[in-house]
Symmetry: C2
């Protein structure tokens, strides 16, 4: 898999948050239930995003997490970089350290191009884009459920 599971969970969670009113704090418990992700595991991932400044958290009753910025201003790549780090989009396909323009591997050129297209896709897609699409077409963020049941209380 290109993205780590942590990263995928982070994407699913922020995507879910993007479907909700931005003012509102969503408990992690609700996120983990709805998205069928281990509560404690998801907590750690979201803590990373909070530390990174992408999420805001609030303790106590009616607490939870919410997006720092509107979903339209957060690109998928922001989440990916925060969780998997920038290496994923700079690494050499053959795993050679320091592979770049001045000391490339034979595959460097082709891979750099492919990598760019991955980055462009992640850069050009916002959480809101996907949340809207999911809502409109009733897609799914989990193995069985669809968007409707996801948004039900």
């Amino acid at each position: 898999m290109l993205l780590s599971k942590s990263c995928v969970y982070g994407l699913r969670a922020t995507l879910y948050l993007a479907t909700k009113d931005r003012e509102e704090f969503t408990p992690i418990k609700q996120l983990s239930d709805k998205l069928e992700i281990s509560f404690h595991f998801l907590t750690k991932i979201l803590q990373q995003l909070t530390a990174d400044g992408m999420l805001e958290s609030f303790k106590g009753p009616n607490g939870g997490v919410r997006l720092m910025k509107p979903g339209g201003k957060i690109a998928l790549i922001d989440v990916v970089l925060a969780i998997d780090g920038p290496e994923i989009l700079t690494e050499c396909a053959l795993g050679l350290p320091g592979c770049g323009l001045k000391n490339p591997c034979p595959l460097h050129e082709q891979w750099a191009e492919t990598r760019d297209s991955i980055r462009d896709m992640l850069q050009g897609t916002s959480l809101r884009d996907l949340a809207e699409k999911g809502k409109n077409e009733n897609l799914r963020l989990t193995e069985d459920g669809d968007f409707e049941t996801l948004l039900m209380d």
Copy 2:
């Protein structure tokens, strides 16, 4: 990383074989030395490729492995599929099982496009392409060495 380490090792090894006379059997020991890969680990990977019919092996003195087909007829994707399996190019970016046209995740469309460009790149590049390029431009297949020293006896 998109590709597993096993897969990368397999690519480096077959790439190395593609630089040599196709008739000749290359000992795995030589491959592991030149490419700085654990001998036993590399052995297993190459056994997979042999079982897959991409390599031919020969026991005894002057034995080793060689490519079954000329390097120009083996695409990178052949190696990738043999080692990492086809999932890597069919999997959902959000890890949802059965994600496809009829039951997609919100990211499916964008990801399918990106995935295609990865596959096209792997499909369109042959071992010979890269071997030639490596030889002509004296690139590297290992952390420190260059192609020249790689091909020296």
